[in-house]
């Protein structure tokens, strides 16, 4: 090195040091960090405006509306059968499960009951939607903590379930299969055996996830004790689904407020976890997915014969009245408050979606956590943006 360049270098270092000294005295106030709208953890376009003090979040405010489609208003100008097309697109990963409470509400108003076989097939498809939906979560949660492999496994295995849904309904994501009074079609030939095989595969997938993530030290360090939600707070915010059960509340609408599907015909258990942290939410969903595979098998065993459609008039006119029906969807309590004036379409539909309530706790739970934990907490709360924005 020549003397001049050596000198130049020293001068440069001195200047840097001087800069650094100035920076020390500069204001290091709170910083605003926008997480999203485009982020893998947001399952759509959600923006979280975080106010940071160093690495710590002092305030986090979700900003929604990027995907608001006004379904409640649109339902008011459609007939009942037309509404299910929209409703399919609320939680797009578990579409069939969205249709069921709306159809049940319309059936309650019309005082029509679907025949037993239709109810059982509904329950089976409902649980298949749950498996397809939660399988993606189980893999996706790995991505939030930096493990890429699980999500590929999830996409691979979810495909098998989607294939079964497609074989029965004709639609992978938007089945639009449920009808007032029953179902569009019966199950295709050979479907039951195929589904049994798929359920065995999905249990294998659950085991893989258990090995890859639940038993993983890094995963445990990142998730245990992070984003703890006590039971009373969870209830006050109206959390539902696995988020509530991971806080130790033993509440499952499939068991506690079954609106008439076949859940109480079979043996199954509700899983809870007392911790209320990100790990507990993952753990509960994992158990639920596995439980759902057993439930599907039991439902297939007991599937009754008979018609799949009740006698329903050709033009569906729903008598005046009100009904609220909610079911335990993959994400939590999904309910429809339907007000009818005896017209061809609903007068007002209030769509109570699980993700809206589940995300409303974000400002509370994010207070004081560190930036990397924001992602794991968001991931573990598990929401679908279409389900928040409707």
């Amino acid at each position: 090195m020549t003397a001049t360049s050596d000198q130049a270098q020293r001068a440069y270092v001195a200047a840097q040091a001087a800069d650094a000294r100035v920076n020390v005295e500069l204001d290091t106030g709170d910083m605003t960090l926008n997480i999203g709208p485009q982020h893998p953890a947001t399952h759509g376009t959600l923006r979280i405006a975080c106010q940071l003090d160093g690495e710590q979040v002092i305030m986090a405010e979700p900003i929604m509306g990027y995907m608001h489609r006004g379904y409640e208003k649109l339902c008011e100008v459609r007939t009942y059968p037309q509404c299910t097309t929209l409703i399919n697109r609320i939680d797009w990963l578990g579409s069939f499960a969205n249709e069921v409470p709306f159809i049940l509400a319309a059936e309650q108003l019309m005082e029509v009951e679907a025949p037993p076989r239709a109810q059982w097939i509904r329950t089976i498809l409902f649980e298949l939607s749950r498996i397809a939906n939660l399988a993606l979560f189980l893999g996706d949660m790995g991505v939030q903590v930096g493990a890429l492999t699980p999500v590929f496994f999830a996409f691979r295995d979810r495909e098998r379930v989607l294939n079964q849904i497609e074989a029965a309904t004709g639609g992978r994501f938007h089945p639009n299969f449920d009808r007032i009074g029953g179902l569009k079609d019966d199950l295709p030939k050979g479907w039951i055996d195929e589904t049994r095989a798929v359920m065995a595969k999905m249990r294998g997938f659950c085991d893989e996830m258990e090995d890859l993530l639940v038993g993983n030290e890094i995963f445990q360090t990142r998730c245990r004790g992070v984003g703890v939600i006590p039971a009373d707070v969870a209830l006050g915010y109206g959390l539902s689904g696995a988020n509530l059960r991971a806080s130790g509340v033993d509440w499952d609408l499939r068991r506690d407020a079954n609106p008439g599907l076949a859940w109480n015909e079979i043996d199954w258990r509700v899983w809870t976890h007392p911790d209320g942290d990100s790990f507990a939410r993952y753990w509960v969903r994992l158990q639920e997915t596995r439980e759902a595979t057993y439930m599907v098998e039991k439902l297939l065993d007991g599937l009754p014969g008979g018609p799949i459609m009740a006698k329903v008039p050709r033009i569906i006119k729903v008598p005046a009245g009100e009904a609220y029906v909610s079911t335990e969807n993959p994400l939590g309590e999904m309910g429809y408050y339907v007000v009818s004036k005896g017209d061809l379409g609903p007068f007002r539909v209030k769509i109570r979606t699980p993700s809206f309530n589940n995300i409303s706790i974000v400002p509370w739970v994010m207070k004081g956590v560190y930036v990397p934990d924001v992602i794991t907490i968001l991931g573990s709360l598990y929401f679908i943006l279409g389900d928040i924005d409707r």
Binding site: K73, G215, T272, Q287, I315, K317, Y324, G345
Partner: protein, 240 residues
């Protein structure tokens, strides 16, 4: 890991399938608890219990219900009872009248709702009682001259966002809510979309192609078919 399975067998499921007898008992219990605040109540067989309470006691009612075990917040929203039968499909004529100040005031009919109602806007809330496996739907008539009601934010923190949504969609105010900013709509958006008099512009720009999702019926057969369909409908017991 699975060996960490917490024991939850000791909790017994009661289930809100406690039936209508349970709902009757719950109704009389809540009517005693809330006293004069209850205006009306309704039980739909095999479904739900509705309570209509006084708007002025909205916050007290929520507090009392929370004390009585209804500590699990479900949702909060509103219903606009403005009658707009012609507003359902091709609603041009109906909406045209709304912009005109001299037009006759729109009719309000909330008699078909459970537990009745007297005003245009009705607030609606659902609460669960997980420990007793029960649920209740609570309604309140929002005064027509000043559509404002107390916030439930301090009782149920989850009501915060639901009130923001109800505020922007229906224009109902919530006293005591510190941040009634829009949750979905852009800041500069004008109007309250879920009010019945808010026109759905998409329908004005391009008329809806199908009112009924079946093939068109020839005109000379229409009346005949409609009568037949209605007869079938009545016979199936759907009209009751």
């Amino acid at each position: 890991m699975s060996d960490e399975a917490p024991d939850n067998d000791e909790q017994v499921a009661i289930g809100s399938g406690q039936g209508d007898a349970g709902r009757e008992a719950l109704r009389s219990e809540l009517e005693d608890l809330l006293g004069a605040a209850v205006v009306d109540s309704h039980i739909q067989e095999g479904q739900n219990l509705w309570l209509r309470v006084e708007a002025g006691r909205w916050q007290d009612v929520a507090r009392s219900l929370k004390g009585a075990g209804f500590n699990y917040f479900g949702f909060l929203s509103a219903i606009d009872w403005t009658v707009a039968p012609e507003g359902r499909y091709e609603d041009t004529e109906f909406d045209a009248g709304l912009d005109d100040d001299d037009a006759e005031p729109v009719a309000i009919d909330n008699t078909t709702g459970h537990a009745g109602g007297d005003t245009r806007f009705q607030l609606l809330m659902q609460l669960h009682a997980p420990a007793r496996g029960a649920a209740v739907l609570v309604k309140a008539d929002v005064p027509d001259d000043a559509p404002v009601i107390d916030t439930l934010r301090d009782v149920f923190p989850g009501a915060d966002w639901h009130e923001r949504e109800t505020h922007e969609m229906f224009g109902i105010g919530f006293t005591g809510h510190p941040q009634l900013v829009p949750i979905y709509l852009p800041t500069e958006f004008e109007g309250h979309p879920l009010r019945k008099d808010f026109p759905l512009l998409a329908r004005h720009v391009k008329p809806w192609p199908g009112v009924v999702d079946i093939e068109e019926i020839p005109e000379h057969l229409e009346a005949e078919l409609e009568a037949a369909v209605m007869a079938e409908f009545e016979a199936s017991g759907g009209g009751e």
